[in-house]
Point group: C2
Chain length 331, copies 2
Amino acid sequence: MKKNAFFTPIATAILLVAAGVALAQEPVEPISPVKEVNLGKVELGKKLYFDPRLSKSGFISCNSCHNLSMGGTDNLKTSIGHKWQQGPINSPTVLNSSLNVAQFWDGRAADLKAQAGGPIANPGEMAFTHTLAVDMLETIPEYVIEFKLVFGKALIDIDQVTDAIAEFEKTLVTPNSRFDHWLLGETDAITAEELGGYQLFKLSGCIACHNGSSLGGTSFQKMGIVEPYQTANTAQGLIAVTGKDADRFKFKVPTLRNVALTYPYFHDGEAATLSHAVDIMGRLQLGKQFTPQENAQIVAFLKTLTGDQPLFDLPMLPPSTDKTPKPTPFD
Amino acid sequence: MKKNAFFTPIATAILLVAAGVALAQEPVEPISPVKEVNLGKVELGKKLYFDPRLSKSGFISCNSCHNLSMGGTDNLKTSIGHKWQQGPINSPTVLNSSLNVAQFWDGRAADLKAQAGGPIANPGEMAFTHTLAVDMLETIPEYVIEFKLVFGKALIDIDQVTDAIAEFEKTLVTPNSRFDHWLLGETDAITAEELGGYQLFKLSGCIACHNGSSLGGTSFQKMGIVEPYQTANTAQGLIAVTGKDADRFKFKVPTLRNVALTYPYFHDGEAATLSHAVDIMGRLQLGKQFTPQENAQIVAFLKTLTGDQPLFDLPMLPPSTDKTPKPTPFD
């Protein structure tokens, strides 16, 4: 009875406060559920995200390469674009992308809204134009009404399109991972092996770049600090945006949230497995050769970062009308 | 009061019986909700239906060409296959396909199970093989467990894969259209214009082929009876299955359920609009030139055939493992 008496409500409260202090000291914070969102934009943006009519072919939607059944990625080294063009870079996950400091591997879009317009008009991706996309939407009465309802304007424009898609993407956060349970004080939410992996992750220096609620996404770092990274991929990273030579091969540090779902890894997609990715990161970025046991521990930790995947009904797209321009996949 | 007295419960019952008799006399029956289904197979089949890893590229799933956000079709003249190959024929809707007498435009698959294996192994579609598909699934523990749970066998085989997909497809019926409400006695469920269209549809002879609960799907008919159909498409129809010269250009009569969503029309996808399709059908199959008013009436009727679209959560696919063979989209 005396032993149990320790677990009084007051003692429990003290324990929780202690856990809170511990939490505050961790360099990783839990993913928060979305706190403020415009549901009208979200529902409209969800339809647009799944609508292949935003592509020239009528075949490729945002969800083609950022597939929400597959961790918000296509699980390919580099993506497939219009007419099966091979994309230049690995599709980053859309999950938790609202938490990124900027969008794309080279950060060339300041936010999700700026990003959303890119692939639509990229000749190697959806190969459409903003004008054609808006013209198409204007021929579909259900879209016209929904845009009016949500934005209150007479005409649809590309700003509204990307704004709605970005608002939907804001909802694609993945709270509730086992690691977040641990961060919030549920000490048995992860195993000793996984906790060991987290400690190693911190001690080895991975945490220097992969920190914050996304374990990444907040800075640009050179790929290949200690040793140069060997790749046939021609992407140059941040230099494309800043023009500064010092930014060559600097890429946005990818989030490690849901990393067990977002294979293959790196901007070139050349690391097929987590184990391989951890090994390369250790050697090239930190000058560390992890032992097989250390590697396995870190991988075990990384697998605790899979959160609740966004769950929603497959959206139904409003049908085209006789006036809607036809897709031209083979022109 | 006397007038209202007519609508007593007994009188209403008599009216409903009368409606029942009328219903029995119509050559179209309402779509029934699914009556018997194996939910384990359905949930497994739903994942497989959305899983692009059943294709060589890792990019094309059943849902790519039979998109359940878009009436179970791709809304393209002919489909896009592996490496952007142009398909030979229009993708028929998967909606209500369980009610078809056979599958594919030429009926070469006896049922949905036989159909499901086709595209996976077709070099112009998903370009995989049944063996590679099964080998891939065997490397994913969550699939292995789910197949065991559902089928109770030690190993996955292609029969289980197609069986599960077919069971999911059995759920893709679309009851509850406005026309079905009318068939079931809700007399104001369709307008006078729409009812006029239905009467014209029957009187003109459309109903000879487009009858039953699917308004089609139950017979093979020659495309171009009164006048030959002109097309650049090389599909020959039923002759490919029977070898009989009389079956040249005979195609399965498509369902008209959800036809407002399943544009473009005909086996070659050459009719972009319902109005155009009705005009051609009238002239080539029935020797009738519908007036613009008649055409509009029939089109109005056809638009009452859109039923409840299947509503379900976007499925989450179990992740690949280090052992899972990698997709090879560009080989």
